[in-house]
């Protein structure tokens, strides 16, 4: 990605000067977290000392299962409460704020298990996300002339976003009738309705068919190119390599490495913690079904 076509203050190329160490300081951090600890009983799920997320770029948060990625996500977005820690967004503290307050501050999130509102139509899903609708106040709700104008404008904007996500034909269908991939698209489209500054995606590619993954990746990049900051949790390594400008690796609750996607994958700590020695092996390769090949790979793994 070149720097010319973005109008924002910071561009992915700003990260070239950043040291690839855990907790590295960024030139233009939009989200800063310090000493965030979350324990479940005796188990420490998240223990992040320091993290800065650069504004206007796509940051990927990766790590093996149980690394605490989603828990960390929930903490930052107000859906869980940490034992200790503070974090701020655009210089304002978000510590202890609930999910709604975080969203109002401009950080909108999606969920790993898609939360499309099934018994609302696709368009209603979108309109629901429109911020500051006067008709959502109980006192004004029964006076249609107060909110008709906002509603019409929101509908226009919703249809525009839906057509970008190729969901406009489904606008009057119930969201429950959409396929899994379409629900992911709807959730992302709905998040855009709130005009977020930063969008946090929890495993956006999970359970989405490969054809749709391409278009989802395109949408995520488009968000960045429009000036939004994107932080996403992902398992799909191709996706991470393909679109992220910066990768943060978590393991056992800690941040073990940070860096650009091309180099962070080669970091020994990352290889050990997450990718394993065979991260270049195509899991779709039929030879893996051969017990001999599998046994050889397992032996290699043990002797490593």
């Amino acid at each position: 990605m070149s720097a010319e076509h973005t109008a924002t203050v910071s561009t992915p190329s700003d990260l070239e000067t950043v040291a690839a160490t855990p907790g590295a300081a960024k030139p233009n951090p939009i989200l800063v977290a310090d000493h965030v600890v979350r324990r479940f009983g005796g188990m420490t799920a998240v223990d992040v000392d320091h993290l800065e997320v650069q504004e206007g770029v796509i940051t990927a948060l990766i790590g093996p299962n149980g690394a605490g990625k989603t828990t960390f996500f929930n903490l930052l977005t107000g859906f869980d409460t940490p034992n200790t820690g503070q974090w701020s967004f655009q210089g304002r503290s978000l510590t202890g704020k609930g999910g709604a307050a975080v969203a109002k501050a401009g950080v909108v999130r999606t969920f790993q298990l898609t939360k499309a509102l099934g018994r609302l139509t696709v368009l209603q899903n979108m309109l629901l996300a429109s911020p500051t609708n006067p008709g959502e106040k109980l006192g004004l709700s029964w006076l249609p002339f107060v909110w008709k104008k906002h509603e019409a404008e929101a509908t226009e904007k919703a249809m525009e976003i839906l057509s970008r996500f190729k969901l406009d034909a489904k606008a009057s269908d119930y969201a429950g009738s959409l396929s899994g991939g379409q629900r992911k698209l709807l959730e992302m489209a709905r998040a855009l309705m709130t005009d977020p500054t930063m969008i946090m995606l929890d495993e956006p590619m999970a359970g989405v068919n490969p054809a749709l993954v391409q278009s989802l990746l395109g949408h995520v990049q488009a968000l960045r190119d429009e000036g939004m900051t994107v932080l996403f949790v992902e398992h799909d390594m191709h996706a991470v390599r393909h679109i992220s400008d910066w990768v943060v690796v978590m393991a056992e609750g800690h941040i073990v490495a940070e860096g650009p996607p091309s180099t962070v994958m080669k970091d020994q700590a990352v290889v050990d913690a997450y990718l394993g020695a065979h991260h270049d092996t195509d899991l779709g390769d039929d030879s893996l079904l051969d017990p001999e090949v599998l046994a050889r790979l397992e032996a290699e793994e043990e002797n490593r």
Binding site: T77, F79, G98, G99, A100, A101, A103, K104, V108, R109, T110, F111, K115, A116, L117, G118, R119, L120, Q124, N125, L127, L128, A129, P131, N133, G135, E136, K137, L138, S141, W142, P144, W147, E151, Y174, G176, S177, R190, A191, M193, T194
Partner: protein
């Protein structure tokens, strides 16, 4: 044949009966809770009983009727706040547990001797203490009036005036509920019903919306209690769990999350219920069936059949009469 006509007339009479209006009203409130917001209120009878007490006691003490209505509404509001504030932050099931027990607590306080002076204890508040100021409002002339086979006095307990007042109040509240639920506010409630975390992630204060829905639905329930008390007396034992489950049956029969569902549900339910009971009693008294089912068992069998109806409804037709099948077909929870 004459007997059959009598049964039919009694059943048709239920369509306009004040009690039907009272249940319709309570179901409109419950619809706001359950149908739109997904709140499991298992204690709507508690709201109704408090509304009835608020209305009856104010009038007994000599207060004006507008104040009595306001106090009934206020009783519902306060009860909803007390129940909602601690529980609405928790998962939905907790509200169900709290409401069912709170409604019982209200009933037991009502029937205890603690405030017997005002509530009349277990025997309740006699209608004659509070009905006069209400009947004094009637603009109708003295005498009786008949609409087809239905003939009632103009002003009195089981009168045309009571029916007009009850259904007029239901119509007003229905208009209000229709206005607020078709708005963006109502859309937020439906969103919360589907998934409150998703709505929270879009920057809405879910707790506040749930509390608003609980308070409005509870106040409407209290008005239902007022309508219920006007032609009868206020007796705490008549307004217990059975009443709550009747309200639920009415709501699910008519169709949750529809505007007219509660009204239609109440009309269909009470017409059928009356037809079933009077019919069974007639059959039991006049035929050989009486040897197996005595007429004294009819009430109990009727209650059982209501329970079975509620079960069948939930299993086979969860959307009720008016509900949108599509809207319920994707209910994953």
């Amino acid at each position: 044949m004459e007997e059959f006509l009598r049964i039919l007339t009694l059943s048709v009479g239920e369509i306009l009966a004040p009690t039907t209006a009272a249940y319709a009203m309570a179901a409109i409130g419950l619809n706001l809770h359950f149908g739109y917001t997904g709140l499991l209120n298992m204690g709507q009878a508690g709201f109704m009983l408090l509304g009835a007490y608020g209305f009856g006691i104010t009038l007994t003490l000599g207060g004006p009727i507008w104040l009595a209505l306001l106090i009934a509404i206020a009783a519902g509001v306060v009860f909803a706040l007390i129940l909602g504030m601690p529980t609405l932050q928790l998962r939905g099931d907790y509200l169900a547990i709290v409401t069912i027990s709170a409604a019982e607590i209200v009933r037991w306080f009502g029937r205890s001797t603690l405030w017997q002076e005002w509530t009349g204890g277990a025997s309740g508040l006699q209608g004659r203490y509070y009905k006069d100021p209400f009947h004094a409002l009637s603009p109708l002339p003295e005498g009786r009036w008949a609409l087809g086979p239905l003939e009632y006095i103009n002003t009195g307990s089981d009168s045309w005036f009571t029916r007009i007042f009850a259904w007029g109040l239901v119509a007003l509240v229905l208009l209000f509920v229709w206005l607020i639920t078709r708005s963006p506010w109502g859309r937020v409630l439906k969103g919360i019903r589907e998934d409150e975390d998703a709505v929270r992630a879009l920057g809405k204060n879910v707790y506040s919306y749930k509390l608003q829905a609980l308070v409005i639905g509870g106040a409407i329930g209290a008005l239902g209690g007022v309508i219920y008390a006007i032609p009868l007396a206020i007796s705490p034992d008549a307004m217990g769990r059975t009443m709550t489950f009747f309200v639920w049956t009415v709501l699910l029969l008519g169709g949750a999350a529809t505007v007219f569902g509660p009204v239609l549900g109440a009309v269909v339910f009470f017409t059928a219920y009356m037809f079933m009971r009077t019919g069974m009693r007639a059959v039991s008294e006049n035929t050989g069936v009486g040897e197996f089912i005595s007429s004294t068992n009819v009430e109990q069998i009727g209650g059982m059949l209501v329970g079975i109806t509620l079960m069948c409804l939930v299993i086979f037709r969860p959307q009720g009469i008016l509900g949108n099948k599509k809207e319920l077909a994707f209910n994953v929870r």
